[in-house]
Point group: C2
Chain length 244, copies 2
């Protein structure tokens, strides 16, 4: 049986404060956990439901694997229905932001919904985006809901948090913004190096950053919805820019 203190410790990682104190985060599910391991990230510890047959990718790892009961797994889980596998990983290595030689950088001005943020990271991975630069107010990368929504893309996308105003002051790339009034991204021509700025779900791009846009892009509307979901809008603009 898992000691109560260990159960409590795993559960405590739901809180950002505890995650950052320990510099640990949790993944749930065989697929997601396996994807991170395949990307070269080694968990500190793996918990598996008793009786589960583990593929070699897990069994051959040089780490502690602990069998737990279904009830213990449920107690540790952040999901509505717990999975068979839960792992505790150390935070990823932080690489300093580097201006890419070419390609697209994604900048996020305060994406707050963890599901949206994770979905955007998955999108960035799909489209080969060079880096994702997030305002300091953006959701935490290690939030369990972000982790689950990235579907393993976490380890393959470079993410940096920084003061976006300072970032844009020092930046020399053109800055495209996804806004409500602008040119159609379909057919928009650019030279292959730029930053795409996506605003907050409710408030959009803050005025001090909006003023730094060199091009305003707007997905044309053919019906009546007032807006699009932030992750969906990001996907549509990325596709227009990178799959013209």
């Amino acid at each position: 049986m898992l000691p109560k203190t260990e159960l409590k410790f795993i559960k405590s990682l739901k809180d950002k404060k505890n995650r950052y104190a320990e510099r640990l985060f949790v993944t749930e599910g065989k697929k997601l956990t396996g994807d991170l391991i395949a990307a070269g990230v080694l968990p500190n510890k793996l918990y598996v439901v008793r009786g589960l047959e583990l593929e070699n990718e897990f069994a051959s790892l040089p780490i502690a694997i602990e069998e737990v009961s279904n009830s213990e797994m449920e107690q540790m889980s952040n999901l509505q229905s717990a999975r068979d596998v839960l792992a505790v990983f150390p935070f990823l290595e932080e690489k300093p932001y580097q201006v890419p030689v070419s390609g697209l950088v994604l900048a996020l001005d305060t994406i707050q919904d963890p599901g949206n943020f994770g979905t955007i990271l998955r999108l960035a991975d799909w489209y080969g985006v060079k880096a994702v630069v997030c305002s300091l107010e953006t959701a935490d990368l290690y939030n369990p809901k972000v982790i689950q929504a990235t579907m393993g893309s976490l380890a393959r996308v470079q993410v940096n948090y920084m003061d976006l105003e300072l970032f844009f002051d020092e930046n020399r790339l053109p800055v495209f913004g996804a806004v409500m009034e602008g040119v159609n991204p379909s057919g928009f021509k650019w030279n292959g190096s730029a930053i795409l700025l996506i605003g907050n779900e409710g408030k959009g791009i803050r005025p001090t950053l909006d003023s730094k846009l060199t091009k305003r892009l707007s997905i044309p509307r053919f019906g009546y919805a007032e807006s699009l979901n932030a992750a969906v809008a990001t996907g549509i603009v990325l596709d227009n820019l990178l799959n013209p």
Copy 2:
């Protein structure tokens, strides 16, 4: 004070069985509730947090408005943090599916995540999609998470549930499917009348429907993610078809 039976009744509408027995659903938040009212749907009852100033759009409604305490609102709420307004609406009028004279119909083969389903309905509203046809296993339209994710588009999009195999047997429109191996939807030419079929989040399009596709569309990948979120993929394909 709200009678306990009334509190309990509202809470009971979280369950699909109860929603369908009563043919009632719940919206939360001033904006979403106001959007539905603006679209011509009248709630049976409106609950507002005591002391909240109501805009005329609410105050002039010929319906019961009940002031409740913060704690009562929290007890009724399906959200992590309750809003100021909660309304109980009757189910929308069911219109039989009609083959549109032209334009795009969206077909969903078992979208199960309520957030994805709501986001897709919001997308359908944005792009002016004529109708959304859902397999019987698709998430329930009146699930609180679907309702919240539609952001008011609910009342403006025609949604029908049906056996998709029968639907496709009787259908004479071309059927495009969003799949993993197919042609790039960017630059794809079509004649303006078709059905776009989106598959389940994990399993994709079921084989018996896959065999009915007249064109396979696949969003090109430039990076490494294994797949895209279903709502994001729907948005990208819709944009390619409707905003070429």
